[in-house]
Symmetry: none
Subunit: 407 residues, 2 copies
């Protein structure tokens, strides 16, 4: 087993990884994909001097969620790492998760009481407006700040959803998360009591049950959202940090909380900035250029348009990104990689299993194998189809930052 860290010699390398979320696609119009439809003069000339191929996010036929999708291109074997649903929910709403936290997905529900026993009437509390959710979360937060020395941190999601962190005074292991969901999954039944399968988990469960009871008391006069169901209990996965793994000081430039969260999970520094356009992201990159060895820039809109089935929108975002390419190249990165975390074909309106076009620009490529940066042209490239978690060793190699293995 090769430990990449043992081979790394990072001497002034600058690796720039651009993730066009959900970039891979299928034919949308006249048998062409958005990458094929887009006018991309800058990519067209860059691709000829690049190594190309397609990465397989997880495995053949397997469609990744955002979590496994990003872990793969960050160099982690995504099949070997479980990121709990509570953790993803917390990252998604922008909570910073620590080793001492138990993360939870929550949702407001409607219950009626029969002989003082709550019975679930609507598991989603009629999908209350997000505004209403915020008001209730504020109310709960101002009344319940901690239980038995465990800090309670809440943040609203969309509609009836919220994320919660129980912040303990000590680090937690996966022993702490072995607790059943309290959501009974059907209406007409009482919520389940949280029960721990281990001693540590049982202590957590008792705190959760106290919390639920106090919330029920606080919300007893609400007509819709008068109860809270909790599930997806999970602790931060124990991972080698990106710097420990690859010897690179990494910065993340992203707009959406989920991707900042995933980057922080592997120990990247999330760089704060104003604005949310590609332009804003690139300005931030320029400003921070001297402070990191590795940059992860996340561009979300390609995925959003894919999820909407809007191939014209997706095509335009690609063209917009193309227009900024000269600015990225002007920074003279050792390696520039452009890829996605997965495909989001407009015809499917969802993530998919299809391999993701990948371009690596470096002085050490064969090149002139692909005419354009598209799904079909990348098939002709020197990288072939490869597992996503092999991308990081490739980027290090193309940056001249990996020593020989063996003598």
């Amino acid at each position: 087993m090769i430990i990449i860290r043992d081979l790394v010699k990072t001497t002034g390398v600058k690796i720039l990884l651009v993730v066009l979320d959900g970039i891979g696609d299928l034919p949308c119009k006249e048998e062409k994909t958005p990458l094929e439809l887009a006018k991309t003069p800058n990519l067209d000339s860059l691709v000829k001097k690049s190594a190309t191929g397609l990465h397989l996010p997880i495995d053949y036929g397997i469609t990744p969620g955002s979590g496994p999708g990003h872990l793969g291109i960050f160099g982690y074997e995504p099949q070997k790492i479980v990121i709990g649903r509570g953790i993803l929910e917390a990252l998604g709403v922008g909570l910073e998760v620590k080793d001492t936290d138990l993360a939870v997905r929550g949702n407001f529900a409607t219950v009626k009481y029969e002989n003082r026993i709550p019975i679930v009437v609507d598991r989603r509390a009629g999908r209350i407006p997000t505004e209403e959710n915020r008001r209730l979360v504020e109310r709960i937060s101002s009344h319940i700040k901690e239980i038995e020395g465990v800090k309670i941190i809440l943040k609203s999601g969309m509609e009836h959803r919220l994320a919660m962190l129980l912040r303990f005074p000590y680090s937690l292991t996966s022993e702490a998360e072995k607790i059943n969901d309290t959501d009974p999954q059907v209406s007409g039944k009482p919520p389940l009591r949280a029960q721990g399968q281990t001693e540590v988990a049982e202590r957590v469960a008792q705190i959760l049950n106290q919390f639920i009871e106090r919330v029920a008391e606080l919300l007893q006069n609400e007509t819709q959202a008068n109860y809270l169901l909790l599930r997806g209990f999970s602790v931060k996965p124990s991972l080698l940090s990106f710097e420990e793994k690859f010897g690179l000081k990494a910065g993340c430039i992203a707009v959406y909380p989920m991707y900042k969260g995933l980057a922080s999970l592997v120990g990247m520094k999330v760089i704060p900035f104003e604005g949310e356009t590609i332009k804003d992201e690139i300005e931030t990159l320029r400003r921070e250029w001297d402070h990191f060895d590795f940059f992860f820039i996340h561009i979300k809109k390609t995925d959003s348009y894919g999820e909407d089935g809007n191939w014209e929108g997706k095509t335009k975002v690609i063209e917009e990104f193309d227009s900024y390419l000269p600015e990225l190249l002007a920074l003279k990165p050792s390696v520039l990689c452009i890829t996605g975390d997965h495909s989001t074909p407009c015809v499917l309106r969802s993530h998919s299993w299809h391999p993701v076009p990948t371009l690596i620009y470096s002085p050490y490529v064969l090149g002139y194998t692909s005419q354009r940066f598209t799904e079909r042209e990348c098939l002709k490239g020197e990288l072939g189809v490869f597992y996503s978690f092999k991308l990081m060793p490739l980027l290090l190699a193309y940056a001249g930052a990996l020593k020989k293995f063996g003598a």
Copy 2:
């Protein structure tokens, strides 16, 4: 580790897997392979709307037997499963193997007696005619029906070969098969006594030795086939069934016993039908269309002609299959996959290690990467070169039957 079964959502999918046995080939005439020589108008138009690639049956450079070849495309890691030679022999002659069976390869031999000790003169009994073999097997079967409560089931193979099952009143594990072959491998030596390495195996060995002695008595007046050598002792491998693994109710349409046997080994239902032509197989498919989620259709002749070095014959079978393609498409499968279990190049007249052309027709392909369904054109396809046991997850994905992994 991803368990495919956890991601499967089979709602009315129809997956059709056509195996053209030994389809892959090498240049035979004017630098063209049989797939390139064949006139295949229907495949030519289908391939453009399909995902293409080549599967690697076992691993680089490894030539598969029919057993591992089929297990791979059925989604089982062929390197991790051992199908004993006795089991393959039994399946090949059309015996149904149960959990309670010990399967054995046998062959008639000629011995002479020196001081009442048999000495092998001809390990293959002069390759007696198959007819003669049948006469002897019938004779043995009518005299020896069971030994100590263990049922003896015999069936002739070709020439001097036969298959035998010892059917116990209880299930067997691989402990039972740890018995040495009785074939001494050279002439001029006595056959070996069967000896078990475990307690269970020793009990089996004693039954085998009794059987051999009784057969020797029965055949003492035969001039050629007067003895039986036994080897390849094996029990049915313990496998998750195809339905347990992929959630699909699968039917097998095949003419030759070996392929029916392999399908039944993974729990597919072997569909009985009259006739043995491609036409007969397709009529059976149409008749059974509503009763299964997954069909495996096996077409043997491509391999037989390959083994004979007859590229003209192989080319004609490909053309015959092509003529039936519209009938397959008329059934409107969610996914149609056309491939082989391995290559059988005419110049080699045997199975080979060469990757096998594969076509997946589904609404969710990139397509327009290969102009024809040939070895060289499939190299240009979106599936690349992939391990055969990844085919099943791909087929499920292209049928829209796999949920997302992670959030």
